[in-house]
Amino acid sequence: MATVSSDLLYQDEIDGGKHWSLTLRRRTILRLIDREGGANVGMLFYNPANLLERYNAPDTLKCQHTFKLTAGHCLYSDMGRVFCSIVEDTAGWHDTVCGNSTKSLVAERWGRRSYQEYRNDWTQNGHDSFLVEAAKYGLGRRDLAANVNWFSKVRTERDGTLAFDPEAGRAGVHVDLRFDMDTLVLFHTCPHPMNPAAEYPRKPVSYELYRGDPAAEDDPCRTSRPENGRGFANNHLYHLCG
């Protein structure tokens, strides 16, 4: 899928264990790159024009009859609209049901590293990272919901048991998100809460912004399921009125 044109607008890198946020305009493509393998990018999405509209993982999964996220999938808001669609993915499986690492989880698994002693190599956690980024937009504890964990693969056994796959993270893989609405994106590079690594995994992530085209009538994300055709129809109505 040649969705990314040569129209690179911006590139940046975020070290492991950090957090940041961006407001992305419709038609922007965000490429996330796992530089060394084993990265995790926790991500939440809000409508900047109505912060009460936010990413809804259950709707995303059940609308597309999927437990994992990969190319061809759309990420839905609770209002039946598509924030963004996964136009390219070389990783193959991303998690959206395991939530975040927390302060106590990080301390139990990897020990406590104070800021005074370690400065920017302290051990931050996903939950607090989201709280910090959310607060920049007037959001708080009540506004956090199930997030995406890009580059993390968690499968289930027949009996529902979860298994984190530490082999899944490969260096150089990327995922491209085409934004189909203006979207506030909160993200962190803290470890996946089920990562069994012995040391706090501090994995850098690159991201690039491209100018993209709107989803055409035969766009693979729009046509991958009849549900997604209707999701894009809801977007169309939203933009007609906005």
């Binding site: 039946g80 939530g99 919901a145 199930a146 529902g160």
Partner: protein, 215 residues
């Protein structure tokens, strides 16, 4: 796994039937036992829990899934809060499996899942929004309507990463019972969904029952 309760309805301190398509909001105290009965079978009870002392702390589907390392809920599952605290523990269950992946239906998700023309069909999130609007004393708003439990609903996940909606495992008179670990606000939408087998296309009433700690 299923497990019968030893409690008798005669010793209950509270009983109420919740009609199909209605909501129920109520505080269950720490130590009390709370039962939901699928009176006629194949009904879905879409349920949210909040810490009554601090409703910003609430049931978290993802923390519950991760902490018990399993996507299905059943006897022994501790229902975890967004702050990492157990809110309730499932102590009896005649069904064997409940869903917390599928979320609550909404008019908007109905347009995506079924057809754009389904947008005015009654949905669980309508019930939730009416509940919080009619009960301002709890201080809840739309931002508090988050990912819930679908008691009695069967949503199998495949090892390949698929998600399916199967016929319910429940039946008339089946129930699930849990002990509250803190004072919790319980908000149930008794799902009005007419488009999928979670209700066998026929929404029916549930009963909620509460016992005191000493029962």
């Amino acid at each position: 796994m299923t497990k019968q309760s030893s409690l008798s309805l005669e010793t209950a301190v509270y009983r109420k039937t919740v009609p199909a398509g209605d909501y129920w909001i109520h505080v269950v105290k720490a130590g009390q036992i709370f039962r939901i009965v699928d009176l006629e079978g194949n009904q879905a009870a879409d349920t949210l829990f909040y810490n009554a002392a601090d409703p910003a702390e609430r049931y978290s589907a993802v923390d519950t899934i991760r902490e018990q390392r399993n996507v299905y809920l059943g006897v022994g599952t501790r229902l975890m809060s967004t702050a990492g605290n157990p809110m309730l523990e499932i102590v009896a269950d005649t069904v064997g499996r409940h869903d917390t992946l599928g979320g609550a239906c909404s008019t908007e998700s109905n347009t995506v899942r079924y057809a754009l023309e389904k947008k005015c069909m009654h949905a669980c999130r309508d019930s939730y929004l009416l509940a919080v609007a009619e009960h301002e004393e709890f201080g809840l708003t739309k931002r508090d309507i988050t990912h819930n439990i679908n008691f009695f609903m069967n949503v199998p996940v495949t090892p390949e990463g698929g998600l399916t909606f199967a016929d319910g495992l429940s039946g008339p008179g089946q129930y699930v019972e849990m002990r509250a670990c803190m004072d919790v606000i319980v908000l149930i939408s008794n799902c009005p969904q007419l488009n999928n087998p979670c209700n066998a296309y026929d929404p029916t009433p549930i009963e909620v029952v509460v016992w005191d700690a000493a029962a």
